[in-house]
Every structure is written in structure tokens, then in C-alpha cells.
Amino acid sequence: MKKVLTGNFATAYGAKAARVNVIAAYPITPQTTIVEMLSEIVADGELDASFVKVESEHSALAACIGAQSAGSRTFTATSAQGLALMHELIHWAARARLPIVLANVNRAMGPGWSIWADATDSIAQRDTGWMQLYCENNQEVYDTILMSYKIGEHADILLPALVNLDAFFLSHTSQVVDLYDQKTIDQFLPPYNPKIKLDVNHPRSFGALTSPEHYYEFSYKIQNAQEKAKEIIRKVGKEFGEMFGREYDLTESYRCEDAEFILVNYGTLAGTVKDAVDRMREKGIAVGSLKIRYFRPFPSEEIQSVLKNVKAVGVIDRAISYGHEGPFFTEVRSNLYGSKASLYGFIAGLGGRDVSIMDIESMVDYMKKEQPSHLIWIGVKK
């Protein structure tokens, strides 16, 4: 069934389709309409779930952790300051190996108060053990919520997923979203049934004091699960394609086969970049786009295979690691160590500043004329 939905409503419908048992969330702009919609869906009995209207994002994730540990499939959503407040528990959920799904509407961190798109909030959660990915459109948001449960709940993975969608560009923009038949979804995503959970018939202690004798191995296992997740993400993405007609991978390359210049991007930037690529191709410039869906696990193999023979690679970051450069740029460069490609790191669109097709074209122009640089600000008023 096709519906015209905002990114936030697509998120709520995704959680509903995943038949989550417990939702705990707290309002924050621009995520709020996810919470509102889910609250309505639960109150109307369309979804048999508990909706816990907690008093903070910190408690939202804590409640999800409690519920998930006791065997429920849980969901929460937040944005920027809320995600930052959750940070302690972001670590906790991953180390407890709980496949929670969290939709984060990418929003800039204050001050000054900003409610507009910026990926700095989610990038700051990089080293927590969560799978982390960025969506390009509302269909992908809906699909990704479903796939994230399937991937996270896989016995070899057991990791939470941070599903990111850009503030307003997706959260409040309506697009056509194909909602699938619930019976087929249920076949794709059976009920959550963890092997180990809080159970009075098998009293265990979870998350106890852990000596250096064991902690190290717990960390090792999380890394192994992240590595293994690449394979599961590809597998589930294929299976999803077979069942619903839309296939997904860790990355998406567009007109990269014969490209001399490739622009690496994520989130809604991907749509603009692809339009710019088409326009430049018409002018005879051999440009391609490589969209990174998964930031964690990082798709090293894909990046190396797509970018190895290219003349120049530009990475567009809607985030910055102050004192260094764009965070995706750092990762891409490290993955291309030894490659002859010229590397350019572009910063664009922080705090929701518009990134136009002309801006994208100017990047390629820059790559044609200028020496490689790790930090090029697009459209900054100096």
C-alpha cells in the first residue's frame, strides 16, 4: 500500500510493522512526530505494545534496555541533545548486546539552539558498538527500521542500530512510501525470542562487575559481531529485495564504473549528489556518487573496490571533528591508504545550511583545478 508520509511517519510505521513490544520515548524537535504517531498507533490498538512516556531521553533508553533484557523488542527515537543525553546508555545497550533500534533525526548540537540537519550528533556515538547508518529517503527509513531488527537480532550479531534520518529534509518532508503487507513482514521478521533474558526460572545476573579477566573478551566479541554484521547486512538486504522488491547494501554506488571523480556522501546529500552527477555527466564530466549507508560497521571492502582506480575522491561531510576534518573523510582516507587517488575533504551544510546542486558541482570543479586538501569549506561566509 502506497502512502504519502513524512520521514517521521515512515519511521513510526516501520516500528509498527516490526511489531515492537515496548516503546519508550521523549519528545524533541524534530523527532517529536514519531513519538506522537506511535503514541496514537498504540492508543488506538493498532499495535499491541506498551508506550512508556518517560521523563527524559536517558530514561527512554534505560527503559528500552530493561524491557529488551526481559525479552521485549523495543524502539525509541530521539535527536541531537536527546541522543547526547542518552550517550551513557548508548554504550550500555551495545555492551549488553541488546538489538534495540533507535531512530535518530540528525540535528545540530547547541548552542546556538539549532533544530536543523547536521550529523555531528550521531557521529559522536561512533565508538559505542552500535551499528550506525544513514538514510537517503523515507522509503529507505521505513525499510531500514525493519531490516535493522532482523540484522541486530541475528544470533551472531546482537547489536543495537542507530538509524539516522536528516532533520526536516526527511523528518518533515512528505514522500511516497510503499508500506508492505503485514503477513509478508511477519515472515521476514519473526517475533523476538532471545536465547537469554531476565527469567525467574533461570536466575542470572546481567552486566555484573567484570574483571580484566573477562572484559577484554567481551570487547573482542563486539568487534567480531560488527565484522560479521557486514555479511548479515548484505544477506538481509538481498532477502529484503527478494521479498519486497528493494535491495540494500552497505553502500550504494551510482555511475561509478567509469568515473574519474567520485563524491562520497551520506544521508539526504546522496539525492542531491546523484542529480548533480547526472547534470555533470551531460556535460561530459565522468563523475559518480558513492553513498555510504553504514558508518558502523564501516564498509571498507566496498570503498576500496569502488574507489581504488579513481583519479580523485571527494568526501562530503555534514559534520566535523573539530581540530581535524570531516569524520567520514577520515575514515575513507584511512581505507584508501596507499591508493594514488587525490583526496578532498569537503565540509558542507552544517546546521541545516542548504547544499545545492551548484555546490556539488563546485566541489568537482575544485577537484579538477586544485591540489588535494583534507578540509575544504563549501559556502562558508568568511
Partner: protein
């Protein structure tokens, strides 16, 4: 529930369940009030209990991975999240139809009076169907005796060193919690196990958000020998420092009224943490205790059960 060991027709009726749910081999200090509190509480709650325990002494007492002394599932959680985590467990139990299992948050005074107060207030206001228990040893004992907002006036801690002992009053958590209008709110003391277990059982039978404030001395932090833990506990109530009372649907009831309360000095003098106090300070502490006791009596007069 009850048992009589002697065949002689003596009229002593034991009300404390014999079954031990908590296992030996825990890591508490000698004379620890918190370990006794857990032992009694589990006797009252039974095996169908899931504990959410944040950072506090009990995060250690239960034992390191892969050990656990509690005898029921223990969910260790982040410091400020006991109420929120246990509330999550409650909802999962509800979703899976396990309505005979009790979800319990078990936290120290730091995790309750201080860092966990927001989550506690939130869960209480929402009326989450769970029990929140604070075992109160009046300071951050697990990190090595730092003052909390539960530390009483006059007490030494490592962050309120002798010359700069705690000056303000202990936060009145019971008034905060009763102000939420929750169905059951009670104090209990490990020195009065029958009363404690009775209250645990009452809490278990009540629906909605329930709060228990359990007095639990800490020989290590209070600087008293381990063998006087119970003596101090009883003195706390006999001096009105820690009165036993409950508030059920807004109705106050003082469970133990001391005819001739002992002077607070008797309670203070056997604890090293109060050793430095001058007579003047002891007097002002006595005054504060009297004031709180009077206030509690007035609450009972105003909002107690009418006995005409």
C-alpha cells in the same frame, strides 16, 4: 509462611519465612546492613522477582561476573536508571503476560536521593507497576564514603571531613515520595525484620508504584564495630532518628511509637562518624529530630485513619 519449631504450646509465632533465597558467598563487609536488607526483602518477595540494581554497594555485593548471590535475576544498570530500567522490565513482563513476577528497583541512597531522583520521580508519577527500594546507608559507600543528600547533619564522610562535617539536613525522601500520591510508601529498618517483611509483603500485594525506604547501617562508613549494626538500627528508631511509618493511599500510620524516646546522643555516640560533635551540635541534632518527629505525628493526626 510461618513455622513453629517447638511442639510446646508457646505463643511465639514466627512470621519470617524460613526459606533463604539469597545465597551465601556475597561480598558485603562484615556487619553490612544492606546485605541483611536484601535477605529480608527477598524472603518477603519470593523467587518470582527481578531486581534492577544500579551502581551501589549491591553492584559489588552480588558478586562479579559470572557469580550472583541474590538467587533471583539481577539486572545491573547505570547509576541513575534504577527506576527507568525496572519500569522497562515491568512493561516487558506485562507484554509477555508474566503478571506474577515483581519488578523491583533496588538502589542505594546516592542512586535514589541524588542521581536517580529524576527517573524515580518520573516512574512514580507515571504510576509504573513496580517496587522501588532504597537501602539507605547515608553516603556513597561503594566509592568510599562520600556525602550524599541522605547524609545526616553532623556526619563525617571523606567529602565532609571532620572540621567540615555535613551541616545541612538529610533530604526527606519519604515526603518527596508521598507527595507523588503513590499507593504505598513505607520506611523499614533491618533492626525490625518482622515489620520490614510485613511491609515488603504489603508492597508486593499492592498494584502501582510502591516505595520502601530501608535503613541499613554501614560499619565501614559509619565507623562502628560490625557487631553493633542491629543495636544501632534499633537505636535509630528508639531515638526517633528513623521512625517506622507507612503511607497507604495517603493515610499515614506510625508503626512504632516510642513511649520514652532515648536521647539522640545515645545513637550518635556509638558511631565514629559523629565522634567529633560538640554538645551544642548534638543539641541541635536532637532539636531537628524532635521537629521531624513532631511533624510526622501531626501528619498522622491530620491524615491518619480516624479512630472515633
Amino acid at each position: 509462611m510461618s513455622s513453629t519449631t517447638e511442639s510446646k504450646p508457646k505463643k511465639i509465632k514466627l512470621t519470617i519465612p524460613e526459606e533463604e533465597i539469597m545465597n551465601p558467598g556475597h561480598l558485603a563487609c562484615l556487619g553490612c546492613g544492606a546485605s541483611l536488607a536484601m535477605r529480608y526483602v527477598l524472603k518477603g518477595l519470593g523467587k518470582k522477582t527481578i531486581l534492577s540494581i544500579p551502581a551501589c554497594c549491591w553492584a559489588v555485593i552480588d558478586g562479579p561476573f559470572p557469580y550472583s548471590a541474590a538467587g533471583v535475576p539481577v539486572h545491573h544498570c547505570a547509576f541513575e536508571t534504577a527506576a527507568a530500567t525496572a519500569c522497562g522490565v515491568t512493561h516487558a513482563l506485562d507484554q509477555s503476560g508474566q503478571d506474577d513476577v515483581t519488578s523491583v528497583a533496588w538502589a542505594g541512597d546516592g542512586g535514589t536521593f541524588d542521581i536517580g531522583l529524576q527517573a524515580l520521580s518520573g516512574a512514580a508519577e507515571r504510576g509504573e507497576n513496580m517496587i522501588y527500594i532504597v537501602y539507605d546507608n547515608e553516603a556513597y559507600m561503594n566509592t568510599g564514603i562520600q556525602r550524599s543528600s541522605s547524609t545526616p547533619h553532623g556526619a563525617w564522610t571523606t567529602t565532609t571531613p571532620v572540621k567540615h562535617y555535613k551541616k545541612g539536613l538529610k533530604k526527606n525522601i519519604m515526603e518527596i515520595m508521598t507527595a507523588h500520591g503513590i499507593p504505598y510508601c513505607a520506611t523499614a529498618n533491618i533492626g525490625y525484620p518482622e515489620d520490614l517483611i510485613k511491609k515488603v509483603k504489603k508492597a508486593k500485594e499492592t498494584k502501582g508504584f510502591r516505595f520502601l525506604h530501608i535503613y541499613a547501617p554501614c560499619p565501614t562508613g559509619w565507623k562502628h564495630p560490625p557487631d553493633v549494626t542491629i543495636k544501632i538500627s534499633r537505636l535509630a528508631t528508639e531515638t526517633n532518628v528513623f521512625p517506622l511509618f507507612e503511607v497507604e493511599d495517603g493515610i499515614y500510620k506510625i508503626n512504632k511509637k516510642i513511649k520514652n524516646p532515648k536521647p539522640v546522643s545515645e545513637y550518635l555516640k556509638i558511631q565514629g562518624r559523629f565522634r567529633h560533635l560538640t554538645e551544642n551540635v548534638v543539641q541541635s541534632i536532637q532539636k531537628e529530630v524532635d521537629q521531624r518527629w513532631t511533624r510526622l505525628q501531626k501528619m498522622e493526626q491530620a491524615f491518619g485513619e480516624k479512630t472515633e
